[in-house]
């Protein structure tokens, strides 16, 4: 393995802000931050194990747990390969869905890769067979934003298998 020893600083600034954001984002639903874990190329296996354990705990069916582990791994692997070489996963449950957010502090995508609002999801190489293609196949929602501070990829998987992006009828 040719990875370096750079490890994310677990006490890096901004964590509390993200947690607050997650909690504020909860609105009427209840958000519980289930997992907050740094990763690099040498610790992806531990990340997968933690995601699997927490997804099962949250009540995600086995096959969806597999999908979540696959999706989070591919996002994290992307951060390792193409981003800063390391990153951080936050995972929480809200309104019947599991939310995962993968941040890396790598150099942002070039300006021409960034669409309106900084969303690069449509410009990423979502080619058939590519890791990010898998993420798009299994996640109910995906968004990827790139800015000066790095890249943030977020996915949502509903606990029930229903797409949470479809609003409930009034």
């Amino acid at each position: 393995m040719k990875g370096n020893d750079r490890r994310p600083d677990p006490a890096s600034p901004g964590d509390s802000a993200v947690l607050a954001e997650a909690q504020a984002d909860a609105g009427d639903g209840q958000a519980r931050l289930a997992l907050d874990q740094a990763f690099d190329s040498g610790t992806l296996y531990a990340l997968r194990a933690a995601v699997q354990a927490h997804a099962s705990q949250a009540g995600l069916p086995e096959s969806r747990t597999d999908d979540l582990v696959i999706a989070v791994h591919e996002l994290a692997a992307n951060a390792v390969r193409h981003g800063a070489g390391a990153g951080r996963l936050r995972m929480w449950e809200r309104d019947g869905a599991v939310h995962c957010q993968v941040d890396d502090s790598g150099s942002p995508a070039s300006d021409e890769d960034v669409g309106p609002g900084g969303n690069v999801a449509d410009r990423w190489p979502f080619l058939p067979g590519h890791g990010l293609w898998l993420v798009r196949l299994v996640a109910d929602q995906i968004s990827v934003f790139s800015g000066p501070g790095g890249t943030r990829a977020a996915i949502v998987l509903s606990l029930s298998g229903n797409d949470p992006s479809v609003p409930a009828p009034d």
Binding site: L44, G129, H130, V138, G161
Partner: protein, 128 residues
């Protein structure tokens, strides 16, 4: 021969119709290059059939599957075949999502009768 590459364990044995590579543990981008080297080394002898027994593999990511697909492509070009034997549920799911059941021969495995894209509810074996 025994190789230990991060969480991936690999061993090679001579089978009746070509080498058999046994993979176990977890295969991800940390081991993909080594996996690729291992497969390439097995192909160097001119084998036309390579069996990769993945029954002990708990997880494989897209980088690992890509290494298998590339080996399969080399074999196809010489009229051979790569057979992926007995994938566990999570590995079978990645193979299905990547659509590589068209590129490799997948034999056996817990995901009975699947292969039609939808999130299947097959009665996979319960495993730790």
């Amino acid at each position: 021969m025994l190789f230990i590459v991060s969480l991936l364990k690999a061993s090679v044995a001579a089978g009746e119709s070509g080498p058999v590579v046994m993979l176990s543990g977890e295969a991800d981008l940390a081991s993909a290059a080594e996996l690729s080297e291992l497969l390439t080394a097995q192909l160097a002898g001119g084998a036309e059939r390579l069996m990769v027994d993945v029954s002990g593999l708990r997880f494989a990511d897209s980088a690992s599957v890509r290494a298998l697909v590339l080996a399969g492509k080399t074999l196809r070009e010489r009229g051979g075949v790569l057979v992926l034997a007995r994938p566990q549920r999570a590995v079978a799911r990645v193979l299905e999502l990547m659509g590589v059941d068209q590129l490799l021969v997948v034999q056996g495995g817990p995901a009975q009768g699947s292969g039609c894209g939808a999130a299947q509810a097959g009665p996979g074996p319960s495993e730790a």
